[in-house]
């Protein structure tokens, strides 16, 4: 169930939807599931508030994320390794309290509620937009299949070895956002740090 909640939360944040994000978080909390969000998704929410982005000037989504009890997964890379090691030395236990950057200091406006009339007028355009997106997904899928097929035919295993080598050496790149599943399998590597929001 936690995986489903995390998937849903991530999608709601990716879709820049404050209300759905709040609903997912409250439902999970109500049923005693401690769900987490990864750094990349949290940063996506932050960038969405920039000028020209879907939530320009609207910090409601960020506020929801920081107000709820979320665990942040932060991938350790060559870039931030020393910084995190220093924090680890200062803090004891598995959970780390980090005071490096406080998103809650951002000031912003609340999300505007959607009225029924506005929703009705948007429904038609949404369907059209949806159809074009579905078409795009199908095109991407077919393209990905062709690429995967050609890669499968020509791949002699070098790329996999290269990726594995990069992961072992901790080189930033594709290896930075390993799934938590693979990270949990090898706790000795200690690649992911959880951070609890403290309620005093």
């Amino acid at each position: 169930m936690r995986y489903l909640f995390e998937l849903t939360l991530k999608a709601a944040v990716a879709g820049c939807d404050t209300e759905l994000t709040r609903t997912v978080l409250h439902y999970a909390k109500k049923h005693n599931y401690l769900i987490s969000i990864d750094e990349k998704t949290a940063m996506h929410a932050l960038f969405s508030t920039y000028h020209g982005r879907p939530m320009a000037g609207d910090y409601s989504l960020l506020r929801v994320l920081t107000d709820c009890e979320l665990t942040y997964k932060i991938a350790v890379t060559e870039v931030n390794r020393e910084q995190i090691e220093e924090i680890r030395r200062r803090e004891s236990g598995g959970e780390i309290k980090v005071n490096a950057f406080v998103i809650q200091s951002l000031n912003g406006s609340r999300a505007t509620s959607k009225t029924a009339s506005r929703a009705n007028s948007r429904a038609g355009s949404r369907r059209e937009e949806r159809r074009s997106k579905q078409k795009l997904v199908l095109e991407l899928e077919s393209e990905a299949k062709v690429v995967a097929k050609s890669k499968y035919q020509h791949d002699d295993g070098d790329s996999q070895r290269k990726l594995k080598d990069q992961t072992e050496r901790g080189i930033p790149g594709e290896s930075m956002f390993l799934s938590s599943e693979s990270l949990e399998e090898d706790p000795s590597k200690d690649m992911v740090f959880g951070q609890q929001i403290q309620h005093g």
Binding site: L4, T8, K10, Y72, V98, N99
Partner: protein, 100 residues
Amino acid sequence: MKNKHNSILVDFKRLRQIDGEDFRDSYVQGGKFSLIEAELAVEQMHMTLEGQGRISDLRDLPVNSLKILLGLALTNQQEYLFDQVCLRLGEDIQPFLSSF
């Protein structure tokens, strides 16, 4: 009064790199979905909440969007939609993990 303390560790070089990646693909527990698939599920959920969702719309949704919609229907307590998505997903009901 609650004294809340919350923060996110940010490395600014990393932050710029994430911005460049633009969230085209998102990895979740061994699987991944694209931003478009997430948006499709969110839009479908909105249409359902507004009473304009049609079950026939589910036919056109990609599998990853259906998986996201399953979670959205559950958390928004839309039982009928949840059942319909379950029917559509069939054996693909596991969100990305065989152990789920």
